[in-house]
Symmetry: C2
Subunit: 353 residues, 2 copies
């Protein structure tokens, strides 16, 4: 056996995939010309271009991404960073929307999406090392908490980064896409007041997330504008279970409440369960407003009044923003803020009334 013949390029048991060299030989041109023909075709004669195109098809040639990115210093992939350690958060359609949207933004580019979830047991330093290691061309960071301080760290590494949600630390010029959470909270308050509710309370989100803080502040503002008392505030973790727990605290401290704003639809679900568990009715005894416009809850039975969040659109925007930053790192991009809208359904307004 000639031990040299089978050396290069054996990927699996099958035949080795053709290299640029093979392609050039087949097309009867040089490696350089073949490379030019593949990448845009500037300064390539029509004949050479045609020959290379034909050879690509004939050989089933695919460029080796590793070799390419070794020299171009571009990997052709971006990371979606989800610093939620817990599996349950994936159940939140929020993430589904983000993934869908980012993926949509990548359409047409030949970029790929690498999912980077902080996994239980790993520290976030590992994630950060990966991001800094040049494995991806950029990152979209979502659902970050105050303690994660991604803004500070990523903002200074020079890795193109876009946030979904307002980052805690500003002034780094890191672009972000967000909903007008303040206005969303305010709308919820005004709506409950308009519906004649006077004894208000809220199940807010985690205090270490800007979205939760902004919603809470908007809520407070809206309550004040309506000339009402702010009422009790309990923090939940955006999940149904967390909402249930928070609602128990809320009502045990203030059983007289007749209007509750939950900072997520899932928490609103928990609130409704507690209200009904106490033998009272929604919306007659207690009106409940959620946040997110969760598709499943919109369709099902008595709808939930909620604040719309166009997450897919927001994620698409974030993806496009990131591509711009990657292509032009110097350009300063402004944050994009989507308006919040209220969707009124049965949880605040009785049927037929």
């Amino acid at each position: 056996m000639n031990e040299k013949s089978r050396r290069p390029g054996l990927l699996q048991a099958g035949r080795p995939s053709p290299t640029l060299e093979d392609l050039a030989t087949a097309a009867g041109v040089s490696r350089s010309t073949a490379s030019r023909a593949i990448n845009g075709g500037l300064k390539v004669s029509p004949e050479a271009q045609a020959a290379v195109d034909a050879a690509i098809v004939a050989l089933g040639y695919t460029p080796n991404r590793a070799a390419r990115s070794l020299v171009t210093r571009r990997t052709g992939s971006i990371a979606l960073v989800i610093p939620e350690p817990d599996a349950r958060v994936m159940m939140d359609p929020f993430f589904a929307a983000v993934i869908t949207g980012v993926n949509e933004a990548l359409r047409g580019t030949d970029m790929q999406l690498v999912l980077l979830m902080s996994r239980a047991g790993d520290d976030s330093a590992r994630t950060l090392r990966y991001l800094r290691g040049g494995h991806v061309d950029g990152a979209i960071v979502v659902s970050f908490h105050k303690a994660d301080d991604w803004a500070e760290t990523l903002g200074t590494t020079g890795l193109p980064t876009v946030f979904i949600g307002r980052p805690w630390a500003m002034g780094f010029g890191v672009p972000y896409v967000d909903l007008d959470n303040f206005e969303g909270g305010r709308l919820a308050a005004r709506h409950l007041a308009d519906a004649g509710r006077t004894r208000l309370g809220t199940v807010a989100g985690p205090a270490d997330m800007t979205a939760a803080v902004d919603r809470l502040e908007g809520w407070m503002q809206g309550v004040r504008e309506a000339g009402l008392q702010p009422g009790p505030v309990i923090h939940g973790d955006f999940t149904t279970a967390g909402g249930t727990e928070a609602a128990r605290d809320l009502f045990s401290g203030s059983p007289e409440l007749d209007g509750v704003f939950a900072a997520s639809d899932l928490m609103a679900l928990g609130v409704i369960d507690v209200v009904r568990g106490g033998g009272r009715k929604v919306p007659e005894d207690v009106a409940v407003v959620g946040f997110d416009n969760h598709s499943l809850l919109a369709a099902n039975g008595m709808g939930l009044t909620t604040v719309t969040q166009p997450m897919v659109d927001m994620a698409v925007t974030a993806g496009k923003l990131l591509i711009r930053v990657i292509e032009n790192p110097e350009e300063q991009l402004d944050p994009v803020i989507y308006p919040a809208e209220l969707v009124v359904r049965g949880s605040t307004v009785a049927h037929g009334g």
Copy 2:
């Protein structure tokens, strides 16, 4: 300006990331020894190892993945292939569970998850080219339809592949993880029969997906075992909207039905909406069984009787299976089938009864 001084390794505006050469110099060893120290440390003296370890920390060194994979022919990433073109499918918690599970399986390995969704407008040939191009070490394919014929194509390329769900074409020895869908359908039928329902119908899943076919066959078998008529079968697309539409067809053709099995929880939701829209009650007039044990529907109000599908566990298993195939391509792995279980809730059994 010395045009040579700044040439190598400038990734961004910042300082260039250190190379193995830099690391070796800092540690006072050769590039080879540094490489060995990083990769397992066989045949490396304790002193050299310590010096390299210290230099890694001091320099903040991260191996360049592109360079490494160029020579090792390993990319350190696997693809999760979701051949669903439509954004809405991501809303299905099924995918959330798959992503969570696969990610969980990757914990401890330093593999990354690349999400490969067939995007609207792209043909699946593009996806296939990517998979064949050596960009990933393996693939997990989920939610495939008959027309996708992934099994045939991937099975022959030599790319390590694991399916979630039984593939249409068998005999390629491609391992897969699946639920006992047949038994699940059968359990649903037996349960409805046991609950005294005699006029049964079903909203099945898409006829081009094995999971749907298997559930339907199990259902048929269960109905026959109970000595009942199979009743009408309408196919839906696993979504709520599809379930609604299918349910309308079902009841307009057979208004007498008192027990319906929907092949997904979301479709069951649609069925329930239609039943109630017609002024009838669940479960008194029509009992409804779903499939998936969707977390949101489990918690909320009148629960949905459904067949459990431990998707996260299944996805973890698929991930681990794939890693085994990657590490040992010769080994033949058997399919892993998870048992189906019925969870009885209020949609088939009246409260307190």
